[in-house]
Every structure is written in C-alpha cells, then in structure tokens.
Symmetry: C2
Subunit: 191 residues, 2 copies
DNA sequence: GTCTATACAAAGATAGAC
DNA sequence: GTCTATCTTTGTATAGAC
C-alpha cells in the first residue's frame, strides 16, 4: 500500500495540466505533499518515470470511464457523447487546467520518448472511439451527418482540445461551449 | 544593425515551436548560432525577454501577412481563407513544428506573464478576424452557413490549432487535411 | 558586440542512516 | 519509506576584458 505513490501521481497530473512537463520539478511535488525531494525517487526513479506513470494512469482512468458504453443493448448515443465530454468540460471550468495530453502536445519535442508514445496513443484511441460512436449513432438514427465518421471524429476531437487551450489562455468562458454547439450541429446536419 | 538579434529570434521561434518555452535554454540558442551563452544577454537581458520578443515578432509577421485583405474592393473570400491557413499548414508539413502560440498554450501556467498576455491576444485577434471574414464572406454569398460567425470562427480556429498538435504527435499525415475538409464543409452547408 | 570567467541557484539523482 | 547530506550538471545571469 502506497498512498504516497498515488499522492505523487495526483500532484504530477495537476502540475502537467497547469504548467506542462517541463514547467515543474521534484521540488514542486515535494512541497505540495510535504515530503522531501529524495523520497520521490523511492517511488519513481526518474522524472520521466513519474511523468509516464501519470500519463498512463490518466489515460486508463478516462478509458475506464468510457467503458464499454458502446456495447450496451440499446445505447443512448447522445448521452454517451455527453458523458465523454464531461470530464474535459471540467477542465474548462477549472480555469487553469487542460487535458493532460493536450498540455503535453504543446511541448512534444521536449518529452521523453515513452511519454510521447503514450500521448500519441491517447490521441489515436480517442479519435478512433469517437469515430465508432459517430458511425454507430448514425446507423441508429441518433446522429445525422454526411461524410466520413472518421473525418468528423478528428475534427470533433481537435476542436475541443483546442478549445480547452484557448479558453484557458483567453479566459473566455464560452469558448468551449461555443465550439461544442457547432460540433453538436455538425452531428445533426443531415446530408 | 543586429543580424544576431534576428538570428536569436529565429532560433527561439523554432525551439518554442518544437519544444515549448520551458524545453530549451540559452545553451541551445548559443550552440545553434555559434556564439556564447553570455552574448545572448547583450541582445535580450532575460529568457523571458527573448521569449516575449519572439512571440511578438511571430504574431506581427502573421498579422502583416493577413494584411488588409478584407479591405480590398471585391475580396475573394475563399482565397483569403486559403492564404490564412497556408502558413499553419506548413507547420503540419514540417513534422516537428506547430503554431508558436499553440505550443505555448500547453504550458500556459508556467509562462512569464508578458508572454501569457501576448498569446492570449493572438488567440483573440485571430478568432475575431476569422469571424469578420466569415461574416463578410456570407454576406457576399461566398460562404453559406447557418448560425453565428463568431461561434464558427472559434470552432474553426480551435480545430486547426488542435489538428496541428495532434498531427505532430500521431504522425497521421491527414489529420489537418481531414479537419480542414470538415471545416470547409461547415462553411458551405447552407441553412 | 562578443568573449572568458565566474557566480549562484535549481534540477535531477544517489548514498546511506534511521 | 522517508530522512539528511551530498554530488553533478545545467540554467540563468553578471562582470569585465577585448
């Protein structure tokens, strides 16, 4: 049992979401959880290890939340989409955080390779899942759009990742909401 | 005459676009232009100064390129939009760079305040300009979309900023292209 | 305007006691 | 598991010669 390990991951997650991977140090972590820098190395040998573990836990937690929603007998596609977006909307409300992977995307070239790989996988998996959702939802009649579900899923994902980033920077409280409205319309705009 | 000053700004720009603000040092700059670290301080007292100057120059260069396209007698709105997007598409082609301000958006909380301010202004200005373009283009009959031009401009801007980030991370060469296709359709999708 | 030399703090990491 | 102590390297910045 290691509550400290989880506490470290919690703090690392928050630090990356607010400051990026290269914007914090072991000192920052130590201060926030009230231990010494050296103690962190017991749980994570290197900063890259802590970062990679944080991204992995984040990605898995979100994937778990999505779960097998699409496998249910008669899915409510709009509800599934709402549930998917909700954790990301929480970032926008925070005023200081964005999606962990979106934050890392900005400094991609300066990330340790294992972190790069996990971030890239996150993007691919989420776009693929959205494409599945959109395709199934259109088959079901819940969504009505022309064109390739894959193309729409890419646009949807990129738009809300971008919206989180822009909303935090500008402070415009309706940035994400406005983008989501457009994207919702795109899902409703029959051929 | 200070060719060195411009050389420094060129390098800082490239370093931010590939690695983010906290992902490079005065050493990196010095190595690339073949001078000593200390010499950089003659041109920019602090790293924050160099960063702020780099963002300012970048933002002004792009604004200049946009110019007063909208003020011309009978503007070709599609051509103006293509010209606007082109420099950003070049980032996608590079495989390693993204928009300088998009890169900085990921580590926003770890940026010096003057840089934060300039990045936020960049986002606001570009969304406002796009909104103007979309509104005028619809009045002209070049574009056909329902809804608020401001809402569409936010979605457009966020989607392509996000697409640059995702394309670099995943290596998917059609990420930006697919997003642009969706967005183009949105501008053509009458009520 | 660029150099050498140096200061000073911070970062990531290790050794070994408790 | 956490501590103190320490090491090494790097990052940013300054002083002063050329």
């Amino acid at each position: 049992m290691s509550g400290t390990r989880d506490a470290i991951l919690d703090v690392v997650e928050e630090l990356i979401e607010t400051r990026g991977y290269n914007g914090f140090s072991y000192s920052d972590i130590a201060e926030r959880i009230g231990i010494r820098k050296a103690s962190i190395h017991y749980h994570f040998a290197t900063k890259a290890d802590a970062g990679a573990a944080s991204v992995a836990r984040y990605a898995e937690r979100i994937e778990e939340a999505i779960g097998d929603a699409l496998a249910s007998p008669s899915p409510d596609y709009w509800a599934i989409l709402d549930a998917y977006v909700q954790p990301f909307a929480a970032f926008a409300d925070s005023g200081s955080r964005i999606c962990l992977c979106g934050a890392l995307g900005g400094e991609f070239g300066a990330l340790p390779e294992p972190i790069q790989a996990r971030v890239a996988a996150f993007f691919r998996e989420h776009e693929a899942w959205l494409a599945q959702l959109f395709a199934a939802g259109r088959d079901d009649g819940a969504f009505a759009f022309a064109g390739d579900p894959i193309v729409l899923s890419k646009t949807y994902f990129c738009a809300f990742q971008g919206a989180l980033m822009v909303q935090r920077a500008t402070g415009d409280p309706s940035q994400l909401r406005d983008c989501m409205r457009s994207l919702t319309e795109a899902l409703n705009s029959a051929a």
